[in-house]
Symmetry: C2
Subunit: 632 residues, 2 copies
């Protein structure tokens, strides 16, 4: 029977899918005052974590803080629901420090759902989007399987891994979204009909085991930090959770690897069952054993899934081996010899919209007012999804308001790096953020995300005035302390010399500026403080900024020079619809790539793989001459 | 690609499906010392409540206490997770009093999952059973979609509404388990191949709305009780939740009914889309409007779904109307004029194993060692499922131990009434427990479930010695207090006469036994107490029993006579495999029914519809004569 369509409510913004991308998108749009609907397949799976029960880590943790500084939810949500918090790489430089939290998986979902339910302007609804309303090349709403036609000024799609999802375990393959949820089929089909190019990616998850069957004595404890830390800049130290849960570390061994090698012909990754492309940076264990054949062992982390469950996630052990083999593999690992597997690992194959079809606002080039975000844009990871989600939500709201778009540059945020990578280079495997993807790592730190982005969040209406005032106060406190350290002199004397000697340094000859004293690698702010008379109480977050800004001033200045160069290239806009065939001298591959990607600036053109500096120079001159041929 | 099978673990008992039936079955088997596996489609849906977020009510609440007295979990689980508790019908007699609790839906799931994970002998696992291992007419295990062949001494199936489930909303119909979970297809197909007769039932659920969009001023508050009460006999008064949440009552009206009537042709119940038979005692609102055409309004209860969600369940408003119509219907109701619907109501059609194919132990007659329980046996309701689940689990465990089966009579428990109804009469619609189904209502009270069943639970190994000792102490205290009241005399005097006068009674002429004094309708135990010197402190639960046993002694005695008669008929066993065609004089319909149902006793034969007293008499005499013809 065909389902009769009916005219349902009108919205400013509609978001499809309440995963990590969709939740941020909808919250951003609603908080920007737009009447917003968030529709999702299953309300029990709002902000569901189908894979690792954790948030943060290198690069990803910085994205969470960026989302927070823009007024997003992920940071607050994990701060309300973590069971362990750890600062990684504390021994290394500030650019690679990263916060990582274990989430209570179910609580993470509950708190996000509750937040969505209680946000003004936001309607959360269970339902399945099956089609888009597209008129005159513009998206004007969605259609659902119940026949509802919801109209909107802009639409954000964040369908995750549900799009024509297929779960694969060894030789078994069946149609399913993540964790045995029903898949979304029609929406994908209709996107193809609209002319979008989709491709197939795959990702995988490890088995879960019952914690009561782990022998922890054979593993190494990884407790949480004692020193308070949080993702959101609004979370108070006083709220730091003290009764944290530990993770546990163990290793695979030759026996594990032997079993994997002996069964490679049954691994869907290698047997040809899986057609989708998997994530290079989140490989399955069978993949690791094949690619790093000489490594005698691989680390495994046993991570609790929550406070009121005994389920443990077997981190870094992602696999789509047949269930039988998975059990055998598990039982070779120290501590897991008698582990009961509660769920097998599996791979999931799903549709991705090739991201070169998007602009930097995450709008599709092909259909106006249609935005996409998250896993369906080719990324993998909750944080990557959230980072795109908030940008898509902001832009959908701005579009609904008739305002120009909002983008972040590669020098402003990891989110900017990620989106530029996606839309400029595309991706032929699930894209994951890594610190190595950023050129300006010393500027894109996790500790300064607020300094980089709070002002933008406030201008967008996502950061309220109270929070903004607190932020301004922090900024002023940093400046005041910088000024102070640049004016106070540390005088030579016995105490200073003793201190320097204890650190293996030479005594002070003359007086020295406090800031110069702090610059010395062996001197911390606390060391310095004891030599400054009338030292005021300074907030530890202000101290952190002052210390980094003074100690790394030289490096930061160098990075700033590169950023300035980038800005000059970005100022060179490329007119829309330029006809690259009309430009003489550009190499064929560059011509094809430029035509496909339609870069917005000379800077972006230069980042397209296959476009060489010579091509960029010719293009640059051509544009400067001003006689530009257009297509269409 | 075909999935290669492999030999997985051996168990004593395997339970398929961790709904309300499966959870009890697995816990019972594991607690009886059997190595038990509970395998279920989705661990996120363990003990999931797809419909009303509540437990208990008339008859159902008594089942919860029976499950508890047998050592089951449902009572403890709801006591740990309720947000409201109410004793219903307090103004009426003890036979119809009933406890009812609103559950925090998500917490109910979490606590049950945690309990399962932490029960010794029990392995909880996510997976899909696709087939049974049947050898020589005996079930010896299951096969899963990943190719695992798990062997077991006995198997319990509790597949709920997932079996070839189809969700229906107006003209929309799609393959799905409850709440957009993936359906179970192959297991049903294989049950049919094994020769089981399946039929299609349907049940429905109402829409959910966002509580922030309800105008509570237009509704009537239904707060929880102040007086402590609990489902489990082990729960302490001190743990009674004091910050309970309210429910809210409102009504449909003529406008609602008009919309329903105008759209009946689109109602799948009436348009012919739904082939499955729906529950008469849990009708959809469209059904109620049609069947009770003259009723100007129907009650609706708005029930919170949990502490950390704003979702509200619209109780007694179950519907499978098109989504558009559902919204219109909702918006006519006082308090819901602006309610935002978060999920539409829907009907679900699913496979049921016709329950006459089972014995009283819930074993299938056709395949030995195979037990079924819950919704798939044709019932509807969490409590009905739990009640069957524990019986099936106990019997699967007893079978694995090589011990005889365990059954409950119609005079022992509502569970006994339900199972006897199912296996004797079958059911051609979703079966729901009602007090009217029980002949011995005054004996099957909610307050005496422990007295009726704790001993059995203890004998089975499901009630530990500590709890049993506490139970024995309670029993002795009741007996001691009964003895005391039967020995103490209340003497005539001013105080007694004044009291009686205040109740409109005549003065005492002579001394009277305390028990006789208590028998007077106007006298409560507390009244009596003031006239007894040296009155000891008696536990309120002991007082409750003493009061009921004394006040209703006459009625209870009469019921006991009927029960004795029943026992005499039940003592008359019918030999297995009797050939009814060889008995002269039995009417054709009775002959067919007896052959199909194969009753175990003369009492059961008499309860089969279509078997008349004359047929029973003939059968009785035939068996007494002892020359019995057998089939096969
Ligand atoms: C098996 C598995 C393994 C993974 N492994 C890793 C890993 O190792 N490392 C890593 O970083 N990340 C991993 N991920 C990825 C991570 O889960 C995702 O990146 C993240 O959840 C993406 O967020 P999202 O919001 O884009 O999509 P999702 O979280 O998938 O959310 C999408 C939402 O949209 C809904 N939806 C879909 N279609 C429709 C429709 N038509 N109508 C209405 N609603 C719809 C879905 O129900 C879902 O709620 C894995 C994911 C899976 C499933
Ligand atoms: C839409 C809807 C409306 C309802 N309305 C009412 C109502 O109004 N009143 C009322 O009293 N009751 C109602 N119910 C019924 C109530 O939900 C059930 O009676 C109760 O949940 C039955 O418990 P169960 O354990 O038998 O089945 P379920 O609770 O359904 O549990 C069955 C479990 O088995 C799992 N499973 C199924 N097949 C397999 C397989 N092949 N392998 C592994 N696992 C499997 C499922 O995933 C599920 O977890 C409704 C149910 C639904 C879905």
């Amino acid at each position: 029977m065909t389902v009769p369509e009916y005219t349902a409510d009108d919205y400013d913004v509609i978001v499809v899918g309440a995963g990590h991308a969709g939740s941020e998108a909808a919250l951003a749009a609603a908080r920007m005052g737009q009447k917003t609907m968030l529709i999702t397949l299953n309300l029990e799976m709002v902000a569901f974590m189908p894979c690792n029960p954790s948030v943060g880590g290198p690069a990803k943790g910085i994205v969470v803080r960026e989302v927070d500084a823009l007024g997003g939810q992920m940071g607050k949500n994990i701060d309300a629901t973590y069971i362990q918090m750890r600062m990684l790489n504390t021994g290394k430089g500030p650019a690679v420090r990263a916060l990582r939290a274990q989430a209570d998986k179910n609580a993470y979902h509950r708190v996000m759902k509750d937040t969505l339910e209680n946000t003004p302007n936001l309607t959360l609804r269970q339902g399945m989007a099956t089609d888009l309303i597209v008129e005159d090349g513009e998206c004007r709403g969605i259609v659902t399987n119940t026949g509802a036609r919801y109209r909107a000024k802009s639409v954000v799609l964040t369908a995750g891994t549900s799009s024509r999802g297929k779960i694969i375990i060894g030789e078994l393959m069946y149609s399913s979204g993540p964790n045995n949820s029903i898949p979304s089929i029609e929406l994908s089909e209709n996107l193809e009909k609209l002319g979008f190019k989709l491709c197939r990616f795959k990702t995988g998850t490890p088995p879960r085991v019952n914690g009561n069957t782990i022998d922890y004595d054979q593993t190494q404890e990884e407790p949480g930090d004692k020193t308070p830390n949080a993702f959101s800049f609004t979370t108070k130290d006083a709220d730091y959770v003290t009764d944290q849960m530990s993770c546990w570390m163990t290793y695979t061994n030759e026996e594990t690897h032997k079993i994997i090698r002996a069964n490679l012909k049954r691994a869907p990754m290698f047997s040809g069952v899986i057609k989708g492309v998997g994530p290079r940076y989140c490989p399955s264990i069978e993949d690791k054993v094949v690619r790093f054949a000489d490594k005698p062992r691989h680390q495994i982390f046993l991570e609790p899934e929550g406070r009121d469950t005994s389920e443990y996630y077997v981190g870094d052990f992602s696999t789509s081996m047949p269930e039988e083999i998975q059990q055998k593999m598990l039982h070779t690992v120290a501590g897991l010899q008698h582990a009961k597997m509660m769920r097998p690992g599996y791979a999931i194959e799903y549709d991705v919209i090739e991201p070169w079809q998007l602009t930097h606002t995450l709008e599709t080039k092909h259909v106006k007012n249609l935005f996409t975000a998250g896993q369906m844009n080719g990324t993998s990871g909750y944080e990557e999804a959230a980072g795109q989600g908030i940008i898509a939500g902001i832009n959908a709201a701005l579009r609904a308001q008739g305002k120009p778009g909002f983008t972040l540059g590669r020098d402003q945020a990891y989110i900017g790096v990620m989106i530029d990578d996606l839309v400029t280079k595309g991706t032929n495997e699930p894209y994951r953020l890594l610190t190595s993807r950023a050129e300006y790592r010393l500027v894109l730190r996790h500790d300064n995300a607020d300094l980089r982005l709070t002002e933008k969040g406030h201008a967008l209406g996502l950061i309220d005035d109270d929070r903004y005032a607190a932020f301004e106060a922090k900024k002023q406190a940093i400046q005041a302390e910088m000024d102070r350290l640049h004016s106070i002199r540390i005088k030579p004397g016995q105490a200073v010399d003793d201190f320097l000697a204890s650190k293996g340094g030479a005594p002070l000859k003359d007086g020295i500026l406090a800031s110069d004293f702090l610059k010395r690698p062996e001197v911390s702010y606390e060391d310095l403080a004891q030599f400054m008379p009338d030292h005021p109480d300074v907030d530890r977050r202000v101290i952190e900024q002052v210390t980094i800004q003074i100690k790394y001033a030289g490096y930061i200045a160098k990075e700033q020079q590169k950023i300035d160069r980038l800005h000059r290239l970005e100022a060179k806009k490329i007119p829309a619809h330029i006809d690259y065939n009309a430009i003489n001298g550009i190499a064929t591959e560059a011509r094809q790539k430029l035509t496909k990607i339609q870069p917005e600036t000379i800077a972006q053109a230069g980042r397209i793989s296959g476009v060489n500096p010579a091509d960029v120079a010719i293009l640059s001159v051509y544009i400067e001459q001003g006689k530009i041929a257009k297509v269409g």
